[in-house]
Amino acid sequence: MIAVEHLTKYYGDFLAVDDLSFEIDEGHVYGFLGPNGAGKSTTMNIMTGCLSATEGHVRIDGHDIFDEPEKAKRLIGYLPEIPPLYVSETPEEYLRFVGEAKGLRGSVLREQIEKVIADTRIGDVRGRRISALSKGYRQRVGIAQALLGNPKVIILDEPTIGLDPIQIIEIRDLIRDLGRSHTVIFSSHILSEVQTICDRILIIARGKLVAFDEPQNLERRLLAPSEISLKAEASAEEARKILSGVAHISEMDISGMDTDIAGMDANGKKENRVSIRVRTDCSDIYAVSRSIFFAFAKGGRPLLEMALKKANLEDVFLELTDNAAGEKDRDEDLEEEVED
């Protein structure tokens, strides 16, 4: 559907996009994930023909965006980071302009306008000037404009930025709905939303593509093991003895709790409480937590708190984006060393 080959973009001396290559298939929801300044907006601008690339090609359904711009752009609906709205118009006038520019006429145009107004639920404000609309409505008008003409590909740049939680949920639902009949690509730096909506995720950092996979696969790729944090009523040595009997524990980190926070028992004596962090490389983390529970029960020491921290996308994200940064830092360090 969309083929991006060796895309590179320099802003003067600054490398914004570094040899990006990927392919997008029809009918899925794709997420561009990356920290701010990673090059997501630049890539989207190039893909939609708003910006030129220093090197590389973008092909939409076989049409190169720079050699056959009209054919390629007819297949795309684009909402940039800042919705390009004519604020002195009403949504209806605005949509009519965009529809006409996209080549829609007459009854087809009218039907399309009604359809997108219904889909994005802006019917209440269709006659109000855009300058008088709230951010959430403006965003929805922007999405409506992208939907006109029923394009095969819909590209949204940070569509939920600045919206309140209810609006965010509505937009996410809309994206999920669209994903059923269109190819949707949207960018975000919020992990949770990418995780819940997307079928495939592309992680971009410092202009490079560091990962491209389904969310579950990405989580599995994580090298960092899972972590269990406990709070038990026991002394440090007791806790250590109990835990040494539990299988699959790779690391153990025991620290005594602050005596001020530690409570008093029924007799007014200060109790021993420890806070433990346990690392395990077992894939079934519940088996480990089960063993820990029974181990402490057998040892007669109460478990006050147990929390699981599963490997998740956030860790993958941080690790991968850190790696991209780390490589550059390592090279710099090495140079410094040699100069000695």
Partner: protein
């Protein structure tokens, strides 16, 4: 006593030496690695810079070139238009028909067989539009007629 210490000292010294050798070897290796990486990066950066400048040159000079070409074409059109004889391009719309040539004049001019030179004594920059127009019409009426300007400042005695 000394004998005992010497081999021990020797062994230690040798260990220290080995350690130093290993370190310097490692350092040299690291240095070589970093240098190779740096060279590769520099090469890549130089290539990129050349590609970028080529692109800027391409982008900037492409638009410059095509603008120059378009300008040249448009200038050529204008030059062509102004080279056309005056009666094709300039129509008299004045109420007193200041610029039209009467039929009498046309008869006289058509009957010309010798070459006639009209000398217009005028300073450059002071030409009257109406006279200029009229004289250029005379010129375009017949090949025999030629209009030459003479600046009285440069040729003060010409009228004599």
């Amino acid at each position: 006593m000394k004998k005992k210490n010497l081999p021990a000292a020797g062994a230690e010294a040798k260990q220290a030496e080995n350690r130093k050798e290993a370190e310097s070897r490692r350092k040299a290796e690291n240095r070589r690695e970093a240098e190779n990486r740096r060279k590769a990066e520099n090469r890549r950066e130089a290539e990129n810079r050349r590609a970028r400048n080529r692109n800027a040159l391409r982008g900037g000079s492409y638009s410059l070139l095509i603008s120059a070409v378009v300008l040249a074409i448009l200038i050529a059109v204008n030059v062509f238009a102004s080279a056309l004889p005056a009666n094709l391009t300039q129509y008299d719309i004045s109420s007193s028909q200041l610029y039209s040539i009467t039929s009498n004049t046309k008869v006289v001019v058509n009957a010309l067989e010798e070459d006639v030179t009209i000398y217009w004594i005028v300073q450059s920059g002071e030409e009257d539009d109406i006279i200029e127009n009229l004289l250029s019409r005379y010129e375009s009426l017949s090949d025999h007629i030629e209009v030459v300007k003479r600046n009285p400042d440069v040729y003060p005695t010409f009228a004599e």
